[in-house]
Every structure is written in structure tokens, then in C-alpha cells.
Subunit: 412 residues, 2 copies
Amino acid sequence: MSTAPRVVILGGGFAGLYAARSLRNAPVSLTLVDRKNHHVFQPMLYQVATAALNPADIAAPIRSILSSQKNCKVLLAEARRVDLAASVVETDGAPIPFDYLIVGTGASHSYFGHDDWAASAPGLKTIEDALEIRRRVFVAYECAERETDPEKRRAFMTFVVIGAGPTGVEMAGALAEISRRTLARDFRTIDPKSARIILVEGVDRVLPPFPSDLSAAARAQLERLGVEVWTGTRVTGIDEGGVTLGADRVGTRTVIWAAGVQGSSLAASLGVKLDRAGRVPVNPDLSVPGAPHVFVAGDLASVQQDGAQVPGVCPAAMQAGRHAARNVAALIERRTTTPFRYVDKGTFAVIGRGAAVGDLFGWKMSGRLAWLAWLGIHIAFLIGFRNRIIVLIGWAYSYITHRRGARLITGD
Amino acid sequence: MSTAPRVVILGGGFAGLYAARSLRNAPVSLTLVDRKNHHVFQPMLYQVATAALNPADIAAPIRSILSSQKNCKVLLAEARRVDLAASVVETDGAPIPFDYLIVGTGASHSYFGHDDWAASAPGLKTIEDALEIRRRVFVAYECAERETDPEKRRAFMTFVVIGAGPTGVEMAGALAEISRRTLARDFRTIDPKSARIILVEGVDRVLPPFPSDLSAAARAQLERLGVEVWTGTRVTGIDEGGVTLGADRVGTRTVIWAAGVQGSSLAASLGVKLDRAGRVPVNPDLSVPGAPHVFVAGDLASVQQDGAQVPGVCPAAMQAGRHAARNVAALIERRTTTPFRYVDKGTFAVIGRGAAVGDLFGWKMSGRLAWLAWLGIHIAFLIGFRNRIIVLIGWAYSYITHRRGARLITGD
């Protein structure tokens, strides 16, 4: 149809979506490919896992986000391999030829070589993951209510979260609130308030990427909520009946994995040596060494800046997606590309109702103020009018009543 | 613990829930058993299937609905068989002894002996069914966008609904709105507006239980939305590639089953000869012939009144659940039971935005007025504060923007 350069974007996460939007006025023929039909607002996925929000509150169809962008076609397909020699992306359907490629297929959790743990300890990356974790958590209470053996009942009422990064901290805090508040009065045999929530971390403090005083504040807030924080503890075994932590054994039926990073398998076809986490070490302009027309943005890229790794957080993915798109535009206009520079505006982690820690432009805060700042920033970022309003109401409702409106167990 | 009579209720649908609530002040030890943790507001399930609403908007945890009712315990378990001789319900866990039993396990669709059609033509009874149908509908458009063979593309863009009772009519109308409005501008290759929606009914008019002038009005409104209405048409075959309707063959990849009634399999253990649809022909007081302490309420009961069958609709299930509970209370107080009488306050079927037909206390209406009446009645009935508000906002949003906020494809 047109002779416009074909730009293909793999992945509809923050990197891919921001790349597509940045090219909305560019004279290109754009195709965004994702194996899901929806973009997920990842920072709030744990709210779906803990039944505070519905899937649709934090996710939106990619097709509808981009429906007004006439130069962009959205394709539901699974990208399997990039054929750099032929300039084609191989998918589960027809191959997709490209002149320029932006890869934003992200990363998932790493089980550090113990992939057999995945069945007993699901991670939290997709809406399906969140619904599966939600199902396990609420089914555990139901099973405890039915169970007559005290030891087995104890295992059903023990929840272990592995990894105390932001996701792990948020999950542990939300699990504590479920046991202490949401379910407090709903059972007749068990007392949900007696549930144990254990947060396990290999290094010596929670939230390792945060300044150490914020780590200490987060730990204090977690413990106030009733979470047992086990730092300096390594997992050596996970099975259906429990978790082995060095010399200790904790009987539990619900383990949530929130540790490690593993780049998407697509990276293997990009012709460069990947880093230990399977990420692509890109050039300063985010292009792939040896393939100047191919860029990697978001969690799949390994970018060094000032001697440190740019973190795998949403703002970094948005900025990198936008930058990769600008460099594609530069190449099309025969200008030179520019190096990417991540601007860290701040990071937050939420512990519970009115409890959070954060760092905004270097201003450290904790407690209610941090929580309000987090709330404002995240709602502002949520894509789509409906979501913002409904998320606010959902939260207001949870906040006032301590209930969790979305507490449905679905699936098998 | 107590010597209060043990009343067991099977099923947390409208019959079971209303039975439980009616006994809230009775001196009984109540156990409500359901294999799901949530009650579903069935009349709006098609709204979840067509992505206008979230699962949590029309469902609520049974445990939380009944949390303030201190004499009632809720158990997540699958009832498998009633042992009348031993007065025990056998489940997938421990058996549950009872002094009085109210069975409200409902009915599902009947494939008229063709159970092999179920895989290609799912019915709509649970939240999981609704999400599966939603997934199929939206995936069909995605596949059509990818498909290059015009005949195959046509099949992806053809949707067949079998059965023109209220659920079938509502599904067909909503599918037409999805194609004509929701998706109208989201694709680049296909034109969603060209999708075919076919509604198939064996008898000679849609909404057979309604007065014939309302059937005619409903048909006209469906056709105005672009639905092809095939009355007097019997299905003789369904497979992955299409539907055989007598001499006709329609290529389609999406078939939705909304016909027939099949009582829950639990009925077989109640020691009476079931009717052709597998329902229990109960005594006038809703008790099971030969078992005066066992009652059946809701869709599983076959109740004759004035020479006709009491319909399997929500208001009938609510009334019967309440009545069965009253009769249990009567037996406990050594009074005589009273016969059940269904009071028909009206019925509605919705065709689309501002399009419906209804009969309220004998007052027949159609079009926008019927739709507004339906909306008001159904929101008033929705259980739980959060749901009412959020459902209203969800609808207002859909109404204003023609979008469907919950348009996520999840699952495999």
C-alpha cells in the first residue's frame, strides 16, 4: 500500500506503547505485536492478585489505546524469533517484515535454575498470574476452614512471599491486610487474623534498591502490619507442602515468587551475548550491537549508566521506549542517533493502607504521606478515563470498608 | 456445640441465598454449601460475556454476603450425593449431616443428547463460562484481522447464538453492538461492522415465554441492530468449523449455546422420578415426595401452578428459597407447611442500548422505557453497595462512549 518505512514494535508494555505513541506523527507504517490483547499497568498488578481491583481496572486493550493512531496496526500474535539477516520477525502466524525494529518483550521472574519451583510458587507478571495467586490465597482460607488437622490447617494459613523488592513488599503487606481486616469476620471455625505472612529476602534488608533508611522504615511498617520479615535468608527448596529456608522448614500451601529477573527468550535471536539475566547489552543509543536498525527498550535491555544498571521499572521503560522511537525517526531522516539517559524521578513501594515508602526527586518519605504521593502518581499514570475513576472508587470503597470487592475465586 | 436443628442449604444461588437469609433469626445451625465462593447475579452474566462489566460487578463472595448472619456457616465444597437414609450430604470433603435440607443446586443447559457440541458451543451459567465466551468473541476478531483467506475470515466474523430465550436475545443484541459500535474503529484490515450475528430458535418466534406482541417487538429491535433472526430452525450439527441448520450450513468459529434446561446431577439421589429435564417434581410445599424434611427450590424444582410450569427465573428462585425456609421453620416449630405460590411480577429481556421488552405486573412495554425499567429493577436487586455504584458507572461509560471497558482477553 505505502512505501513508508515499516517499523515493527514487539510488546505492548510500557516500552512498546510509548514507542508507538512517540511515532504517531512520523511517516511510518507501524505494527505493534503482542501475544496478549491488553496492556497491563504492572505496578498495580498486586492489587488484582489481592482482590482490591478487577483486571479491567488496571488493563486496557492495546487496540483501543492506539485506535486513533492511524499509522499503527495492532496484531495479536506471538513473536518467536527475530531473523536479522532477512529482517523478519517470525511469529505463530505469518512472518512480519521490518525496516526498523523495537523490541520491548520484557522480562519475567527467574527461579535461579529451579524452574520446578514455578508450579508451587507462581510469579506475578500477567493478569492470569494475578488471578491464579488470588485464587490460591482465598482458596487457602477456605481449605483451612474445612480442615480438621491443626498442622495442616496451620500450613493453609501460612503465606510465604519470596523476594522483598517492591512487588514482594506490596504482596506481603496486602496479604497481611487481607488476614487482619478483609476476612477478619467472615469465618466461623478459623480466625483469619492468626494467619502467618512471611517475607523472605536473600540480602540483609527489604527493598534493596532503596536508601537504607527507607528500607528500615518499610520493615517497621511491615512488622506493624504483622508480617514476619526474614532477611538474609535463602530459599533452598519449595514443594507443595512447604518451603525450606536453609536449616528451617516452613509448612505452607501458598508461596508467591517475587525474585530474580529473566529476559524474554526472544533475546537469544538478536545475535549478541546476553547478560547473566538473559538481557540484551545494548549500545548507548539502545540499538543492538551489530544491528543499528534494531533497538531494545524496557526490562529486556541491559543499560549501564554512571556505573550502575538502569532499573527495570516502568518510568525507565517509558523513557527508553520513547527514546528508541526517536532514534528510529532519526535514522529515517538520516540524522544520527542520540544516547539514552534515564532520568530517575523517584520510586515508591506500598506496604498497606496509608503505609508506603518513597523517594521523589531525592525527597525521601514514608508512611501516609508516601502513600498519598504514590496514589496520586499512579492514578495519574493509569491509562484511560474509566480506569482512573473506577480505581479511585474501588480504593475508596476498600479504604472505608476494609473489604475487597473483587474477592472472587475463579478457575479450577 | 449446639443442639439447634442442623439445616443444610446446597447452592448459593438465588434460592439458597434467600433461604439462608430467611432463617437469619431462626434457632438453627445453618450451613450453606457451594462449590464456588461467590454468588452470581445471573441475569447480567451476559454483560460479563460481552465485556460491558467485570466479573466482580455482578458477583460477590457468599461468605461476605452472609458474614453478619451468625447462625450461618459457609462451606466451599462440592455436594455430590444426598444420602436420604443416613441424612447426610456426601461432598468432596467430609460428609455433612443434616436434620433439614434445602437443595438449590439449579440447572445448566441441555444439549439435547449432543453433549459433544459443548466444546464448540459453550453455554453461559458461570463466571468462567462468561470469560470463556468473552475470550472467544474477541479472539475471533483478532483472528479475522490476521486471516488472509476470505472464506476463513468470514467464518471468524460470523457469530451464532442458539436459543432465543432471554439469554440468547441478550447475547445476540450485545454481539451486534460490539460489532457495530464498540470495535467499529479499532481494526485496520477488517470492518467489524460487517460481522454476521445469527440468532437461531426452534419455535416460530423469539422469547417464546413472552406475549406474542412483545416477541414481535423484540424481533424488530434485534433486526434494527443488524441481527439475523432465524426462527423455526433446528440445529442438527455443530463442529469447530460451523453449524448445520437443517439443509443450511453456516461457517462460524463462535457458537454460543442458550437453549435447553438440565437439572443438576444431584437430583438423581433424591429418590424420586425426575422430569424429562432432570428436575425434581416437588410437593406443593416444595418438599420432596417421601422426604418431608428435604426441600427443593429454584431451577432444580419442577413446580406446576395453574396448569403451567413455574419458570426458571430469578424471582421464582428467590420466592421459592424463601418459602422453603419458612416451611423448614414451620416443621421445627411443629406447625404444618404451606403450599408455594409463585407471584409473577414481570419479566424483561434486553436487546441493546435503550432497547428491551418487558412485562411489569401485566403492563407490556418495549423500547427505551422497557430498558430503563429493566435497568432500575436490576440495579436495585444487585447485592452490595459497591456493585450498584460501579455497575452504574460502567454502564454510563459504555453508554456515552460505546466502549466496553472490560474488553480483556485472558486465558489460553
